[in-house]
């Protein structure tokens, strides 16, 4: 049994042929060409699906289902994208359109963060678990939540916006128009913001040295590396970052009590340096101290999570 997973992004459409263990056997990609009519984009997607199947030496008859992970909000029942701002899509009938080209094959769609959480459950750090949260610490903070083996997508398809959980009521202004959202404090952007401030305020800091005083060159990695090297200013930033992340994780544990909370995205590349610090802070603030709580871990999956998770949408019943 083989499944097709499609990772639809603002730049590329990536398609992979995946087996039921969540292994990608073959993959390929084409540019999305955002701005074109959706019919053209979905025609390209269908063509790439056929190509990947053929190039891998299989036939469409061997494919159980096609799954699509998309940015934005997906109506999983109707197989429709409700909206995806960076694709300029509103109410795009993905399933119906793909089936025009691929025939009556089952087509599932879901939000890309939800799909990545599913990949985590099938092939990542939460293999075999049923209650999983994936936090992607990137430009923003994305979230995917699985409860009892099922994606928590929300009644209006806009759930699991964990980055916009409010962790500091009336705190820092967020791009969403609200204040104090989790991602204001725990995204790579937050590290960069604090790192830039350090360049301005502390010419002696390792961050300042690393970027030659040029604020624009500050990245999350620069800040994390300076903290790892023991620079006091960078350590302060790192500790503040970790504390906000840990408090959000404690909240998620109190709300969902999952088995696993996996950290993905750019910041998670800091690995054990990040993980040890987060675990220690969570441990201090956990509500039920004598009951086991979620394991906090780093996602081993990279970009392939999108393809794997999307493919597994069609296998959900069997997982």
């Amino acid at each position: 049994m083989y499944y097709i997973g499609v990772d639809l992004g603002g730049t590329n459409i990536a398609v992979g042929l995946v087996d039921k263990e969540g292994q990608i056997l073959h993959q390929d990609s084409v540019p999305t060409g955002v701005g074109r009519p959706y019919e053209m984009i979905l025609k390209d997607m269908a063509d790439l699906v056929k190509k990947v199947v053929a190039d891998s030496g299989h036939t469409m008859a061997e494919i159980e289902s096609v799954g699509v992970g998309s940015p934005g909000a997906a109506d999983t029942e109707k197989g429709e994208i409700v909206f995806a701002n960076n694709l300029y899509w509103h109410f795009v009938p993905v399933r119906a359109e793909l089936q025009k080209h691929l025939g009556a094959i089952p087509v599932s769609i879901d939000n890309d963060a939800n799909v990545a959480a599913l990949a985590e459950m099938v092939a990542g750090s939460a293999k075999g678990r049923r209650d999983v949260i994936l936090l992607t610490l990137g430009t923003g903070v994305g979230g995917g939540v699985i409860v009892g083996g099922r994606i928590v997508g929300g009644h209006h398809h806009v759930g699991a916006e964990i980055g916009h959980m409010i962790t500091v009521t009336d705190g820092e202004m967020c791009t969403c128009g609200n204040r104090g959202c989790f991602e204001r404090y725990t995204s790579a952007t937050a590290l960069i913001r604090m790192g830039r401030q350090a360049v301005v305020d502390n010419p002696g800091s390792a961050i300042h040295v690393a970027v030659g005083g040029d604020m624009e060159k500050v990245t999350a990695k620069v800040v994390l590396d300076a903290a790892k090297s023991g620079d006091i200013i960078a350590m302060e930033i790192f500790e503040r970052y970790v504390h906000h992340l840990a408090m959000g994780i404690v909240s998620l544990i109190n709300i969902f009590d999952p088995e696993v909370i996996a950290l993905g995205g750019g910041v998670s590349k800091a690995g054990d340096f990040l993980l040890d610090a987060v675990r220690a802070d969570v441990e201090k603030h956990i509500f039920y101290k004598d009951i086991p709580h979620a394991e906090i871990t780093i996602s081993p999956l990279g970009n392939e999570a999108g393809i794997i998770g999307a493919a597994m949408l069609g296998a959900m019943g069997q997982i």
Copy 2:
């Protein structure tokens, strides 16, 4: 088809015979007698179940199942209370013990807040809905979460502790040892705390007048009534309270995207005065402004929610 619902509390055990629409046809109660061996308490519970069935003119053969709502953490699979601090219970085999007295009838148990959320879905403000959150605004803030018709109980049976979602990182000290928990700002206790401060600081306020300057007499109702009467100090407290509640609700909408968020507990008796203010504040801060979001409402169920929800545990598959 009839179901038995048991609301196990620190003071009383209440038992009701419930039909499949969630209507209580007959009920009775006995003191819990906390501190006695659990075998005695559960024997009393079983006896009361038999009495309620007999008094209502039915026989045990007509009863589909017995459901028990309990404080603390319940292992729904094993039918065990993992712990319930105010009963002094640890690992109490409720199902096995009840079946000793009641025979092989199915026995389900769950946490009382989860059970109340289920009642909301069957017979309350969320009738026929599948994605429901109940917030009980009392001494603390309790929560029950239902996603896709299923209770989110947590992998270690300690989920849905919504009162301990952190909404003000490093904020006010909570009884749980953490800082900035939602219930610090949104429980009846929070209103009382702010009301007492007003008595000390503002001798002219309607709160001061209502309690004759006696801080100890401040209740949530005193503060709410003073706000309703237009007292400026009380209005300020009320607005602060509403804002924290609204921001927590926005968080829950961003996390779960439910159909209904129902408010219960003592503070919810403020009715439309509370509801209108909360809705207005949520509306201003909602993330997806052009997508419908959860209806916010007041639970119409009172104490019976415990019995109704517990009874419905056994009917879960049919709801």
